[in-house]
């Protein structure tokens, strides 16, 4: 896995307006025609605070990726042990070392991606990104603090995530602690143009 380049602290121009996206961005390839949303809405998506669904799906993807990689590593270790020693190793969830290794791996996974680029693989897929509350890059300190505070949102019976649904700036508890925010970083207008291009090329003979 290669490390994403550390993001500069340089800032872009302020994102104008704060228009919510009231409809899905129309995309091509669907059998039914989409209702086009206005250009204003799609242009203003980038830099908006990301909503609960996007973040939750990104988290699910990250869980799948991180657990999948962990299982693969365990499987590879078990296979290597069986080849080298002739006896297979059976990993158990009750095994303390496995649990410790799992949590260490999870910590490394999130800490690495958040400090390096503000985006885990799941976040890349969903087009969201962790930034500082002021819009700057997350950086090592805030990335580590966010990773440490992340379990707190779970430990409080999930109440730490309520801020995403109820807060004006959609920040979870670990965002507040680490002074971060999660924003959309994908270009919806570009996606819309791609969709229109596909639609146009499908119609042309």
């Amino acid at each position: 896995m290669t490390a994403p380049a550390d993001a500069d602290a340089d800032l872009l121009e302020p994102v104008p307006g704060n228009v919510g996206v009231s409809q899905p961005v129309p995309l091509g390839g669907s059998p039914q025609p989409h209702v086009p949303v206005s250009t204003e809405e799609t242009e203003n998506l980038r830099g908006q605070h990301a909503g609960f669904a996007s973040r939750f799906i990104a988290f699910i993807v990250d869980c799948a990726v991180s657990i999948g990689v962990f299982m693969l590593v365990l499987g590879a270790a078990s296979f290597a042990a069986s080849v080298l020693t002739g006896s297979s190793i059976h990993w158990s969830r009750a095994n303390t070392w496995v649990v410790v290794a799992f949590f260490a791996w999870e910590f490394f996974y999130y800490a690495y991606f958040w400090t390096a680029s503000g985006k885990t693989p799941g976040m890349v897929l969903l087009g969201v990104q962790v930034v500082g509350q002021d819009g700057s890059s997350v950086g090592t300190k805030r990335g580590l603090l966010r990773t440490l505070a992340f379990p707190l949102s779970f430990l409080l019976l999930g109440l730490g995530f309520l801020g995403i649904l109820l807060g004006r700036d959609r920040r979870a508890l670990h965002d507040v602690i680490a002074d971060t925010a999660v924003v959309y970083c994908w270009d919806a207008r570009e996606a819309r143009l791609r969709s229109l291009a596909r639609e146009g090329s499908n119609r042309q003979p």
Partner: protein
């Protein structure tokens, strides 16, 4: 010929020349006075330019114009400096252009793939769900206040 006879014949000619010269001067002066007193704008206003232009064979006029020579004399850079390209571009319907021209096909062949399409769709639906959830919460809380100002994004490359 007798010198006296020659003088008698040339006298009327010289007189005629002098009269002609005076007449030309007077005529010139009269024309100047008339032109000065003319209100050209009023005169042009009374001319039906459509009738005039109707009699002009524009094709012949254009044939007589050397456009290359005119273009050679143009300072294109200076001309372009006076053109507001942004204003022109803003008047172009980019979406219609992409949808109805080969530009769309070029974009599709250069940037689109099944994976990109799937990712675009997934993100689009996620944003849709975000918005639906936000509207539900807003309705439950009877809160119509807008969201907080978005933070400025760091200068990182955009996701495809």
């Amino acid at each position: 010929m007798d010198p006296g006879e020659r003088f008698r014949r040339s006298a009327p000619r010289r007189l005629a020349e002098q009269v002609e010269s005076i007449a030309q001067g007077v005529a010139q002066r009269v024309i100047d006075l008339v032109v000065e007193s003319l209100d050209m704008n009023a005169l042009i206003a009374r001319i039906d330019l459509n009738v005039v232009l109707g009699r002009v064979d524009l094709n012949k006029v254009v044939d007589r114009i050397d456009l290359n020579q005119i273009v050679d004399q143009l300072d294109v850079n200076r001309l372009m400096a006076r053109v507001d390209i942004n204003q022109i571009v803003s008047q172009i319907d980019i979406e219609a252009l992409v949808k109805n021209t080969d530009l769309g096909a070029i974009m599709v062949s250069s940037s689109s793939s099944l994976a990109t399409e799937a990712v675009d769709q997934g993100r689009s639906h996620a944003v849709s769900m975000d918005d639906t959830l936000a509207r539900w919460v807003s309705r439950i809380r009877h809160n119509h206040a807008g969201r907080a100002e978005p933070p400025e994004l760091p200068n990182t490359p955009e996701e495809p």
